[in-house]
Assembly symmetry: C2
C-alpha cells in the first residue's frame, strides 16, 4: 500500500507524541513510535530498553535498522522529555539534573544519530526545546541545562559536516505551555488561552514534513499562543 511518507516519532506515547502519531496516521503516513510504551496507532513500535545512554542507543539503533530495510525517512520527530524544578542551591539539584539529562538529552541525541543515518535528502529532524531555556532558569536549573543542550544540538545538526544528508532541515520547537491533560490537571486555574493546542503542533509537523513553511535549518521555533491563536517565531542559537 502506498503511503504519503515515513516518519519516526520518538516519544510517540506521550501527550504531544500521541497526537502527532494520530495526525500523521490520518494523513496516510507510515509511523514508527519509539517510546517506553507501545502506541497501538503506530505502524511499528520500538520499546526503549537499556539503563545507560549507549545501551539505549545500541538497542534503539539496532531495532530501527531491522525495520528500515532500504527505506528512508521523511522526518524524525522527537518529543521525549520531562520536567523537574530545582535551583542550583536546592537539595535535589544534581539528582533532578540527571533525570532531565536522561529524559531530554538521551532521546534527542539518539534521534540526531538516527536522523543522520535514515533521513532522505531534504528530510526533517525536529527536537524538543523549551522557551525558558533560551535564558537562565534559576528555579529549574537541571531542566534548563538539558534543554540548552538540545537547542545547541539543533544548531550543530544544521551546520556543515554534521552527518545529515544533503538539504535536510534541523529544527527545535520551543513551546511555552502545551495544552495537555496533565497541565490542565496541575494548573486548574491557569489562563489556557495562552496554551498551545497539541493538534496545532501536530499539524505543523505534517506541514514541515511535507516541505511547507519550513523555517531555516538550525532555527529554534518558539510557539506563541495568544487568545487561542498560535504563531511561530524562529530564532537561532547565539543570535
Amino acid at each position: 500500500m502506498s503511503v504519503a511518507g515515513r516518519v519516526i516519532v520518538y516519544g510517540g506515547r506521550g501527550a504531544l507524541g500521541s497526537t502527532v502519531v494520530n495526525v500523521f496516521k490520518k494523513n496516510q503516513f507510515w509511523v514508527c513510535n519509539i517510546d517506553m510504551q507501545e502506541n497501538t496507532e503506530a505502524d511499528h513500535n520500538i520499546i526503549v530498553t537499556g539503563d545507560t545512554w549507549t545501551q539505549q542507543e545500541e538497542n534503539v539503533c539496532a531495532e530501527v535498522g531491522n525495520i528500515m530495510n532500504d527505506e528512508k525517512l521523511d522526518a524524525l520527530l522527537c518529543f521525549a522529555g520531562g520536567w523537574a524544578g530545582g535551583s542550583p542551591g536546592s537539595k535535589d539539584f544534581i539528582k533532578n539534573a540527571e533525570t532531565m539529562w536522561r529524559s531530554s538529552v538521551w532521546p534527542s541525541s539518539i534521534s540526531a544519530k538516527l536522523a543522520c543515518e535514515y533521513l532522505k535528502e531534504g528530510g526533517l529532524v525536529v527536537l524538543p526545546g523549551a522557551q525558558p531555556a533560551v535564558k537562565g532558569t534559576p528555579t529549574m536549573a537541571g531542566y534548563g541545562m538539558a534543554k540548552a543542550a538540545v537547542h545547541q544540538l539543533v544548531a550543530s545538526l544544521a551546520g556543515p559536516k554534521s552527518g545529515l544528508p544533503a538539504n535536510c532541515t534541523s529544527l527545535a520547537i520551543l513551546p511555552n505551555t502545551l495544552d495537555t491533560p496533565m497541565n490542565r490537571k496541575w494548573m486548574p486555574k491557569a489562563d489556557t488561552s495562552t496554551w498551545t493546542p497539541l493538534v496545532y503542533v501536530a499539524d505543523l509537523m505534517v506541514k514541515w514534513t511535507s516541505g511547507e513553511e519550513r523555517p531555516d535549518s538550525g532555527s529554534l521555533v518558539s510557539l506563541v499562543t495568544q487568545d487561542g491563536i498560535t504563531s511561530t517565531q524562529p530564532s537561532k542559537v547565539g543570535q
Copy 2:
C-alpha cells in the same frame, strides 16, 4: 596565619587549574584543589571519587563540609573539562557526548552547588565555557552540548532565587585556544600568537576574586588573544 582569602579550584591539577592554584598561592590565598589527582601546592586536596553524578556530588560535598567548618569562600573556580570531537553522524557520537557530559557538566554542576552553599556574600563562581559552543559545533557535537549546558547554568546562577548568596557574581570564561603544553604538542605548527596564556587567566581570576573588573553576573566572558595580547569580551546567554 592570615590569608588574603579562600578559594576552591575544581580541576586544580589540570594545566589551567594548576596555574590558577599557583598564582592564588603566590597571592597568599588559602586554596583547596578538587580533582582526580592531588596538587601538592594546594593547602588541601579533595580527590573526586564515585562513578555516578550523584555519588561524586555526595562524596565531594561531604569532604568540603568536613574542611570548611564555619568558613566561607571568596571564590569557587571550576576548570574541569575535556575535549572530544565527533559529529552527530559519527560512530562514537553518543559515547563521546557522555564523556563530555561527565567531564564538563558533572564538575560544573557540583561547583554550582558548592558555590550556593559556601560562597560568602559578594562571592564569585566561574565555570568553564567554550567560545565555539555559543553556536553550533557540527564536528564536535557532544562537546558543544556539554558546554552549552554550562553556559546556561551560569545564566541560571545569575538569576533570582538561584540559591547563591546575595551579591554573588556568576561567570563563564570562554577561551578559544589556551596555551597549554598539550596544545603545543598536538598543534606544533599553529600560530600561538592567538593562544591565551594560562597566567593571563590566573591573574584575571585573582582580580575578579578581589572584586576588580568583574563583568555583570551571568556573563560569558570570551578571551580573545591577538598578537599575544588578550582582552575580555562579555556577552550573555540568549543575547
